[in-house]
Symmetry: C2
Subunit: 419 residues, 2 copies
């Protein structure tokens, strides 16, 4: 199978991209004149697909179910009671809807944590995206419950790996230091070391998490994770709003990957990740939407604008986090964070490529494409999505869209009213 994208804008020049199998085989002069599929790239720009490094995809089902509430009330009275009623089939349809939305916004890979994840894996496999999937692990700091859950983690990982596609990887998903016991965190670390599984958790999201950690563990969250040996290149930590300089150094030295979720952090009033200090320390920062109940969409281009503007606002400095850095954060940064060989358009990389429709009013005039992407565009500017060498969307059409929207909506409505 081969794809040829002809006459497309790449980094400001018109060229062609030739894809063979699941890799970019040639760009420019060396690109072939024929292929199994030929795509006209005129008035389009090719860029790498976006990588969303923190979400809870199936929470599409609870999108708009409860907003504008205090965090604890939102969790305890709205989200958790509904999540207690979620069934495996809900996860399948909620993840299908999320994948559809991600494809329509140019996302080709994502890092997901939720429940019944073997059903998320089935949805991702069908939709053609890449994902790293982790079963959310919450033992409410009860080590006995943790032991049971650890067996579940292992069995779910086996099922996820059983989907048998390189596009899907499994990870361990300890939810956060305040919902998982020390013993379970230690066991997860051992499992990660033994089997090489990445670890995905929420970290230093709210000021309260930090205060609770100091009062229960006698140290701040990053220091606590260090004491458990969890700071490593295997760890992807979402949020990281509340960090002291010493903690930033620890994250940098450990090689921890940080997922910045500006929309969620603003919507829940959590705080602003110290981007500049993390970047200066050399920490790999990527971008996440967070789940659709706290965002409420999965639009990476929107999150890119929020990332840039939140940093400019929080630092009272319009030069912080310029457009080019945001684009890198959402593409190469995410790919590196998830260990995917994509994020750049160059020969030999995985063929995760999207085409931007340059005829859109809000993308004109074209003085600077990266500025337009970050400050003007939303997911709707994406015309074509190729992931792993397969065309998932063309001219904004995704096969089966109407049925996915209908089935997921039914599941969401049913979940909202389930006794």
């Amino acid at each position: 199978m081969s794809i040829l994208i002809k006459d497309v804008l790449v980094d400001g020049s018109l060229t062609s991209i030739y894809i063979e199998g699941n890799r970019i085989a040639a760009i420019g002069g060396k690109a072939r004149v024929e292929a199994d599929t030929v795509i006209d790239g005129k008035q389009k720009a090719a860029i790498p697909g976006f990588v969303n490094t923190h979400t809870h995809a199936a929470m599409t089902l609870l999108r708009s179910y409860a907003d504008d509430l205090p965090l604890q009330e939102w969790l305890e009275k709205a989200i958790w009671p509904r999540e207690a009623k979620i069934e495996p089939q809900d996860i399948y349809w909620g993840t299908k809807l999320a994948c559809l939305e991600m494809i329509k916004g140019g996302t080709t890979a994502f890092n997901d944590m939720y429940f019944h994840m073997e059903h998320a894996a089935r949805a991702v496999k069908e939709m053609g995206l890449r994902a790293v999937l982790s079963e959310g692990f919450i033992d409410l700091r009860d080590p006995d419950m943790g032991e049971q859950l650890l067996k579940k983690q292992t069995s779910t990982i086996r099922k996820i790996e059983g989907t048998g596609t390189d596009r899907i990887k499994a990870a361990l998903g300890p939810h956060a230091i305040y919902t998982v016991s020390r013993e379970s965190l230690q066991a997860i670390k051992e499992l990660s070391d033994a089997k090489g599984y990445p670890v995905h958790l929420h970290l230093a999201e709210t000021r309260r998490e930090v205060e609770d950690c100091v009062s229960t563990q006698g140290m701040r969250p990053v220091k606590y994770l260090e004491s458990l040996g969890l700071l490593s290149r295997q760890l992807l930590a979402a949020h990281c709003c509340w960090l002291e300089p010493e903690e930033i150094d620890l994250l940098a030295r450990g090689g921890v990957r940080v997922s910045h979720c500006p929309v969620s952090n603003m919507k829940l009033g959590s705080g602003a990740m110290p981007y500049r200090s993390l970047r200066e320390a050399g920490v790999l920062v990527s971008l996440g939407t967070d789940g659709p109940a706290s965002n409420n969409n999965l639009d990476m281009l929107e999150s890119m604008k929020f990332a840039a503007l939140l940093q400019k606002f929080a630092n009272a400095d319009p030069t912080v986090l310029p457009a080019a850095e945001v684009v890198e954060m959402a593409t190469l940064g995410g790919a590196r964070a998830l260990g995917i060989d994509s994020g750049l358009l160059e020969e030999g990389r995985l063929a995760d490529v999207i085409l931007i429709d340059l005829r859109r009013p809000e993308l004109n005039p074209l003085h600077d494409l990266k500025s337009l992407l970050v400050f003007s565009a939303h997911g709707n500017v994406v015309d074509t999505v190729i992931c792993d060498g397969q065309v998932l969307m063309r001219a904004r059409k995704v096969p089966g869209e109407a049925e996915i929207v209908r089935k997921a909506s039914e599941a969401g409505r049913d979940l909202a009213s389930r006794e």
Copy 2:
């Protein structure tokens, strides 16, 4: 001329809307079964068109021309030198592109300040939107220059009014207290009083503006405007980020209308308007995108999300500015601010109505439409736009779109390289 929208969702119920001439003639049972134009409203929701109360539409031409710069450098080295080269025909095409973009995002009325505004008026008239247009007045605090410019204001107003459509009104456009002399501000106040023209200016946008005002005038900006007699229901003040409680009281007592521009305020690192205090004081707050060089789009749905999230973040409280208040700010609030009898779907109101496509993935499941609009949607969810009883967009198609994009892009590229 009549329009019937059948089987459409209005405030959660399926109904029909009948439009006769430029007004909503009936909603529900009383709606006719026939009309000159019948629109199928199935799987769509009708809401009032958005009102953008602060922009500089023709700055579409400079979209993505310069971003991520310190404010003074951005103005002095990028924007002002280009604006000095702007010609009337640029304004026409820049405003056409802006109108196209606004229509595609569901905006039916806007408040605009820029230059050569008779050419903006021509563009608005052709595109079918409503607008309040003001010629930007900057005398650099030189009263002699001010006298010349005042003649220009009067002559431009006459030309704007000469377009001969009720959809377009003229206003006076003193740019800001730091760019306009005291004498000119006084003359503008007198002209406004004598002729009833609204006044549109930037106010308390940056901390520096406040500090400069205190040092040159011996008082803060709002107090200074009060001393000139400018605080009235005729005044629409954009930004208002830096207000002391006493100033908020003065704005409330004067009946001043405030346009909140969260995207611009974040992008330029200006500050956060004190929404809660303004609302508690009873000030009418509406929503603006600001010009496309400091946003960089004209998408009111995006600005609605930024408004909500900026307030939640700045107050560290997710309950501030909930979805329903944001929707009202962007519709009825704006209509009231501009003195337009729209902003609500009810019999007798002007027929400025938009239809939302509920089949979009990001608008499902539909637990709460206002939450979806504010937190999930962008302008692309708008399917149909009716303004003043005329259909401007149907199924996302606007007549002449490709030519407008092409001509405006040419003008923008030419402007960027003009010697």
